[in-house]
């Protein structure tokens, strides 16, 4: 547990282990407001069901007293036993009636509150989903997918458990105890006062035990995830393990983790078992008080035998919640930590906020203007982009180059507002980019990202992801433009091929070209390609670009590339180095001047002569360190 906590803290996500259940759970109050009516309806039903609980021992008391009173008269011959039995009819039927009413009330009360829990889970899921869709790349970098999934699944489940079970159990227990105490006091106040004495230590023990159980179960959970991690890590590296003949060592290591898990599990079970032994043992003192003190009262004739019997039931009612206090505390703690973790997500403000102004033109022409654009990632000590000035005319083709980490992708992300540039630094057709409605902006400025991503759906749906209503004709055209025709034709189902885990696995190059097709299909006034040919061979890249440049005549196109052979076709080339523009001009102009670009060209040609090179980022970055 310690290790886990420090790891979590190391990742900058402080997780308070505040066990006081109040604060985070308050956040759920909105849902109380939303489901107020059914909630209080359910509470009322619960209350009435539990009041009926108190009636049953009363019926029992009446019958016992009646029998007790009748017995001597029957043995004396004053009364016929069969006549006396008619006295029992009312209590017997009374109990049956109570049972039936209680059954209906209980079933409905539980159903309503558990339904509320399901509805809240539904609402929360929807809320989380919508909220995530507003977040930018920074958020997803801070919160890995696995973590977000865990919150969306487990923590919502905890909240649901809290409402449907924790909250309900608490309400039920309070009612039961209250009804039981009231019934006892009305029957025999002094006896009641005496036998409630052992309840206090039971409650205290229960409270502390619950905390220990919570701690120990956390340790068990951690042990289990250590075990999983150990197995997973080992199996992923199984080839290395076997190549190094490390099987026996790994089995030993596994056994150690497995033993540790067993030890922790055993400790938890031992504690739980101890609690389930000690609590009833302590409760037995209440029973003994009824037996001894109550019994002597009966003998003295101040307490009826029926009341004496009924007290056993009532003590049971009062003890019930005391015994369950541990489980209740656990449910509340779990609910509180779930709520807290959930609201950590829901409280994070979107990085990019849509605040359109009316004067933003509906139709973008494609003139892009950067005026001293700087960008700094939160928590990073230096600018990713600093003071970039650049004007791109409508219809220009601009190649953007630079080594890894120079700021190319950061720049491109600003154009589609995946990152928000500072106000007044990025202008589209003379209007600040932040004044455009996001929807309008992203419809007309299309970014093809560096890493291709396909959904586990039909290829068709992936290619027309922006607009599912696209015609086949459009899709096929984009397929052809992205040089994907042969690939798609090779699939038996063509466009209706399922891609991803359960379907066809596409190669890196095929994925890139599919993503490219999705970008091309949109025929947008501004197209931005972020190094999306890295897994495509040079020849195919040339073919695609040739078509692309012809098709995009008159419209603005930006592309990041590492190949001079690609960049040379652009109208102008921008070289970015450490967030600043270091070179700007046409291919010829840059070749004529000594600098990074000319040097890159020389190296790439050399490498080409040497053969066998992959035009990847390696040489670009190596060049960077040389200049």
């Amino acid at each position: 547990m310690d290790r886990r906590l420090s790891e979590v803290a190391g990742e900058g996500r402080p997780e308070t282990t505040d066990l006081s259940p109040r604060s985070p759970l308050r956040r759920l109050w909105t849902y109380h407001t939303r489901y107020r009516l059914p909630f209080w309806g359910s509470v009322t039903l619960l209350l009435s069901a539990r009041s009926l609980d108190a009636l049953i021992p009363l019926f029992l008391r009446d019958s016992i007293d009646a029998i007790h009173a009748a017995q001597p008269r029957i043995s004396a011959g004053d009364l016929m036993a069969s006549d006396a039995q008619s006295m029992l009819l009312l209590p017997a039927l009374g109990i049956l009636a109570c049972v039936i009413v209680r059954l209906v009330a209980l079933a409905n009360a539980r159903r309503i509150i558990r339904r509320i829990a399901v509805y809240v889970a539904y609402d929360l899921r929807k809320r989380v989903y919508s909220h995530l869709q507003l977040q930018g790349p920074g958020f997803f970098a801070r919160n890995p997918t696995g973590d977000l999934m865990a919150r969306a699944i487990n923590d919502i489940a905890l909240v649901r458990e809290f409402i449907g079970s924790g909250l309900r159990t608490m309400l039920v227990n309070i009612t039961i105890a209250a009804v039981g105490v009231i019934a006892m006091i009305s029957l025999a106040p002094v006896l009641t006062a005496v036998l409630l004495l052992p309840l206090l230590p039971i409650g205290i023990v229960g409270w502390f035990a619950a905390r220990r159980v919570f701690e120990r179960s956390m340790r068990v959970q951690q042990g289990f995830s250590d075990l999983s991690e150990q197995v997973q890590g080992n199996l992923y590296g199984i080839r290395t393990v076997q190549a190094l003949v490390q099987e026996q060592n790994e089995i030993r290591r596994f056994d150690a983790v497995s033993d540790e898990y067993n030890t922790r599990f055993q400790a938890l079970v031992r504690l739980n078992s101890f609690i389930s032994a000690i609590m009833p043992w302590m409760a037995a003192f209440s029973t003994v008080i009824i037996l001894g003190y109550g019994g002597s009262l009966v003998r003295d004739g101040t307490l009826s035998l029926g009341t004496f019997t009924a007290f056993f039931s009532y003590v049971g009612m009062v003890l019930w919640p005391v015994r369950e206090i541990g489980q209740m505390v656990t449910l509340w703690q779990r609910g509180a930590s779930g709520t807290q973790r959930l609201f950590q997500i829901l409280d994070s403000m979107p990085e990019v906020v849509d605040s359109p102004k009316a004067e933003a033109p509906v139709q973008i022409r494609g003139e892009l203007s950067l005026r001293g654009l700087s960008y700094r990632y939160p928590g990073i000590g230096h600018d990713a982009l600093s003071g970039v000035d650049l004007t791109v005319q409508t219809g220009e083709i601009i190649a953007i180059m630079g080594r890894v980490g120079a700021g190319k992708t950061t720049l491109l992300n600003c154009f589609v507002r995946l990152l928000d540039p500072p106000v007044g630094t990025l202008w589209i057709d003379g209007v600040d980019i932040r004044d455009y409605p996001l929807e309008q902006l992203r419809r007309q400025i299309v970014l093809v990202p560096q890493d291709p991503f396909l959904f586990a759906e039909l290829l068709r749906h992936n290619l027309s992801y922006d607009d599912p209503a696209r015609s086949d004709e459009e899709i096929w055209e984009a397929v052809e433009d992205a040089d994907l025709l042969t690939t798609v034709k090779s699939f038996e189902e063509e466009l209706d091929t399922l891609v991803g885990e359960r379907g066809v696995t596409l190669s890196g190059g095929q994925k890139q070209r599919s993503t490219l097709a999705l970008g091309l299909i949109r025929n947008s006034p501004v197209l931005i390609l972020d190094d999306c040919f890295s897994a495509v061979d040079t020849q195919t890249e040339e073919q695609i670009l040739e078509r692309l440049f012809a098709a995009r005549r008159g419209r603005t196109t930006l592309l990041v590339t590492n190949r001079v052979s690609t960049a040379r076709h652009a109208d102008r080339i921008v070289v970015i180095d450490e967030g600043e523009i270091s070179q700007l001009g046409s291919h010829e102009a840059l070749m004529a001047s000594e600098g990074w670009y000319a040097e890159l060209d020389r190296i790439q040609k050399l490498k080409l002569q040497a053969g066998l090179h992959e035009a990847n980022t390696t040489e670009v970055s190596s060049l960077g360190t040389q200049t």
Binding site: I64, L103, Y122, L291, V298, L447, Y465, G611, H613, T618
Partner: protein, 626 residues
């Protein structure tokens, strides 16, 4: 494939259905075969198990004795003005009398003391029952986990090529975990049934007619439970499906968020998610309706029995055939009567899931795929010259798809051979065969004249040092990770190895130097650092033959130069086969072997092959388009 299969038989790759690792297991609630097999692991812990069972029987009887003290000793004997009706009381009345006589206490106080004594004994025996039970069960599961992991650890690469790691992993973790509930569930059942049986017998001796009437509830409860379980099983399956759809949708949406946002699909996707969300809500509501009615019914059936007891038992008490205490005793037992059925109902789901888990575990344990190990292994000389000869080697991962075709290649002792070729030419396959990850035939590989098939795979792997492209970092310190190929090695030797391959510098800069713990899969190291560490590891093990798959990932120039130097150190004076991706590596090799579509196309020095103007020259000039 069994161990004695001749190597030649392995060309036809056995058709195995790896799909079973993905399929959902339908299973049944009770499978005697599976249970019997499972108890193999419990058997070594049978003594602990027996103690636990004895304790639970004792606890059960004590649990029955407690209400007997209340009703028979206190109520009948002391308060109700005792009619002389002989009724079973486990000797509690006479015990109380003896206790009172012995201590001189009032009878009621004596009864109270007795009650406390019984409760204490009950608490102790119930607690130790649970402790012994979990000790036995956890011990059995630990052994099972060990056996399963050991089995998996020795499955060949061909197995791991075909199954998802996650699917295999959960068998060791979640499935074994699930069996805890099953095995301890048996203890729970014993704990519930023993008092039930004792109580029934007692009640029958007291009042057979009333007991018989009350037991009429049993078939009703049983039918209700069976029906309930049957209906909810379907509903639960629907819920599971909708939940996994929800998760899948969410996961994909998170992973592809930029695509979603750039294509303005937010509304559309939310609508689709909401659809599944609603479906899930409806299914949940369905389940809740069933659960709450069933639960309320079970909670109330006992209380309904109270009415019957008052009417019938009360009547008998008036007749004088039973005592008043007996009637009260009945009211105390009434909840116990339906408990076993409720518990069986609860255990039913556990049973179902556990059976499926057991089946998955045994499925993995029974998976006997393995590579050929010789029955009478050949011996290798203590010092190898380091000669490798590949003769007419054929190999394919799948049945009709040969990756290597009739490959023959002779590598001289101490030679440095670079293997090049386009993707899919079979380069990496050679490494895997040299590492004995797969059986191959027809064809053979000889190491100093000894057929690899005549050597145990562990021996081959000890003599041939293998550096895979995806270097696996073990959880442990840097020291552990370097020494792993040779556990007896000293710290000085480790540092020396690290120094030789230029890993020492970066290791020294780590927070705790050689004692810095590395995270599983080495996420806290860069690509280049991992590569250098892999070199240090193999150098420390100092094998006679080195086989290395050069990493292709992009690394900064400085590190790249370090790696090249390290590679030079590593390969000097050692037979080395390198799947080469870097020009410098190729140029430094003694010879270059060019593979294409599984066949050896060209073999010679870099200069010779360039002059030849064949495949190598073409590969070399592939990008040249000026």
């Amino acid at each position: 494939m069994s161990a004695d299969t001749s190597p030649s038989a392995s060309t036809t790759v056995l058709k195995r259905d790896y799909g079973v690792f993905d399929a959902e297991i339908a299973g049944k609630a009770l499978d005697a075969q599976l249970l019997k097999r499972l108890f193999q692991w419990v058997r070594p812990h049978r003594r602990t198990m027996t103690i636990s069972i004895v304790l639970v029987v004792i606890a059960s009887i004590l649990a029955i004795v407690m209400p007997i003290i209340v009703s028979r000793v206190v109520i009948d004997g002391l308060l109700a003005g005792g009619q002389p009706v002989a009724m079973p009381d486990f000797g509690m009345n006479s015990l109380t009398h003896q206790l009172a006589a012995l201590t001189g206490l009032d009878m009621i106080v004596a009864a109270c003391l007795l009650y406390l004594l019984v409760v204490s004994l009950w608490a102790i025996s119930a607690h130790y029952h649970r402790v012994y039970l979990t000790t036995a069960v956890l011990g059995a599961l630990r052994d099972l986990r060990h056996d399963l992991f050991t089995h998996l650890e020795t499955r060949p690469a061909s197995f791991y090529d075909r199954v998802a790691i996650g699917r295999v992993m959960t068998r060791v973790t979640n499935d074994v975990e699930q069996l805890f509930q099953l095995l301890s569930g048996f203890g729970v059942l014993i704990g519930e049934f023993t008092p039930f049986i004792v109580a029934i017998v007692l009640m029958f001796t007291i009042n057979a007619e009333l007991t018989g009437t009350l037991l009429l509830a049993l078939p009703i409860v049983a039918v209700a439970t069976i029906l309930y379980r049957r209906v909810t099983r379907m509903v639960y399956r629907n819920i599971r499906q909708s939940v996994s759809q929800l998760n899948q949708n969410l996961q994909e949406n998170i992973s592809g968020m930029p695509v979603v946002q750039l294509n303005r699909r937010e509304h559309h996707n939310l609508a689709r998610y909401t659809q599944i969300n609603q479906l899930n809500r409806n299914e949940e509501n369905h389940a809740i309706r069933l659960e709450t009615w069933y639960g309320a019914f079970m909670d109330n059936i006992g209380a309904a029995g109270m009415g019957v007891i008052i009417w019938m038992g009360g009547g008998d008490a008036l007749q004088g055939t039973v005592t008043l205490g007996s009637v009260i005793l009945f009211t105390q037992f009434v909840d116990m009567l339906v408990r076993p059925i409720v518990v069986v109902g609860e255990q039913y789901n556990v049973l179902f899931r556990s059976m499926a888990s057991a089946e998955r575990i045994f499925q993995a344990l029974d998976w006997d795929e393995s590579i050929h190990e010789p029955r009478q292994p050949a011996t290798l000389p203590a010092d190898l010259r380091g000669e490798i000869e590949i003769r007419h080697l054929n190999f394919g991962y799948a049945r009709d798809n040969l990756v290597l075709r009739d490959l023959s290649l002779h590598i001289r002792p101490g030679e440095k051979l670079a293997v090049v070729g386009p993707t899919g030419s079979g380069k990496s396959t050679i490494i895997r065969l040299l590492a004995r990850f797969y059986d191959f035939a027809p064809g053979s590989i000889f190491m100093d004249g000894v057929d690899l098939m005549d050597l145990p795979s562990a021996v081959v792997r000890k003599r041939i040092g293998i550096v895979l492209q995806d270097f696996h970092v073990f959880a442990g310190t840097v020291h552990d990770n370097i020494s792993i190929g040779n556990p007896d090695i000293s710290r000085a030797q480790i540092e020396q190895a690290a120094r030789h391959v230029h890993a020492h510098e970066f290791i020294e800069r780590l927070p705790q130097g050689y004692d810095t713990p590395l995270v599983e899969r080495g996420r806290n190291l860069s690509q280049g650092q991992r590569q250098l560490l892999a070199f240090a590891r193999v150098l420390a093990a100092d094998p006679e033959i080195l086989v290395l798959d050069e990493a292709t990932a992009s690394i900064d120039t400085e590190t790249e130069q370090l790696i090249q130097d390290a590679l030079h150190v590593l390969t000097s004076g050692r037979t080395s086969i390198i799947i080469a991706h870097r020009l410098q590596t190729i140029q430094e090799a003694d010879r270059v072997a060019v593979l294409e579509r599984g066949q050896l196309r060209e073999l010679g020095t870099h200069a010779e092959l360039l002059a030849l103007g064949g495949t190598y020259a073409r590969l070399y000039a592939l990008q040249f388009q000026e």
